[in-house]
Amino acid sequence: MLISEYDDRVARAATTTDAFNAIAEASRRDILVSLTGGEAAVGEIVDRLHLSQPQVSKHLGVLRAVDLVRCRTVGRHRLYRLNGAALRPVHDWIRGFEALWNDRLDRLDDLLTELQQEETP
């Protein structure tokens, strides 16, 4: 990584709101995970996570602002659901690191196999 890229990332994180910022908060990650099972109303999320309703509503507001969560109204209820596509930048970013280490550790795996074959001919 170029150091300029690093600086860009840090500067961006401090001044803008995006998926990276949104999932930096543990409660918001919990809300996302709780929505992987399907749509839910605020009250259901409150029950599952033992947070207060104002807290959940506030977090949902942040998640909606970056499109990680979408919402529709059914009768009197607003149902929230996860929008996985908005996680793509986070996903791609972590996957790059994981790919680097998979590559490295696959070679270590091959080396260990070779070494064991040498030791037990």
Binding site: Y6, G84, A85, A86, P89, W93, I94, L108
Partner: protein, 179 residues
């Protein structure tokens, strides 16, 4: 051929907290051998660098207080360097060291390698602890090489599993211009 490759692509990266990175992988080898391959320069050279960016320096002074330094040479000729100091050595179960990427010398991390042997296999776990989330995130960004996407992580499973069938069909592999 032997069983080589059966575990390829199985390393899992997790973010246990805002300051940490976790890397876990199982090897069909005893812990002593994994530890040796991890701490012997001739062996580290075989796996740590890539063909396109070989490890041109690999110094390891394996004693508490001793140092290590790795340098890779990238395809464009740039050299990237990391170094650190060994803090704890409990061969072959545990190795703790500091790690500094020399391009960002203020971001010192603490690496803990833990090996657990079970029925001839070894579970390798690396925990990288940074002093700030910014440094941790910067470290993760160092994996952003293009064209190395042969593994799917758990986030993708989550991402694909929850998408409505219609969205998945429409979005295909692109999953939506979020970049």
């Amino acid at each position: 051929m032997t069983t080589t490759g059966t575990r390829h692509g199985s390393a899992v990266v997790t973010l246990p907290s805002d300051l940490e990175i976790g890397i876990t992988r199982i090897f069909d080898a005893p812990a002593e051998l994994v530890f040796r391959a991890w701490t012997t320069p001739e062996l580290v050279r075989e796996w740590w660098g890539r063909e396109s960016s070989p490890l041109v320096v690999c110094d390891i002074d394996l004693r508490v207080g001793g140092g290590w330094r790795y340098v890779t040479r990238e395809p464009d000729g740039t050299e990237l360097a990391w170094h650190g100091t060994y803090l704890e050595i409990d061969r072959p179960w545990r190795l703790v060291s500091t790690e500094v990427y020399e391009g960002y010398p203020d971001g010192e991390a603490r690496d803990t390698l833990t090996l657990t042997e079970r029925d001839g296999t070894t579970v390798m776990s690396v925990n990288v602890l940074h002093s700030s989330r910014e440094n941790r995130d910067g470290h993760l960004s160092s994996g952003m090489e293009p064209g190395m996407q042969h593994s799917l992580d758990r986030f993708e499973d989550l991402l694909l599993a929850q998408q409505a069938p219609g969205e998945r069909a429409a979005g295909g592999g692109g999953a939506g211009g979020a970049a």
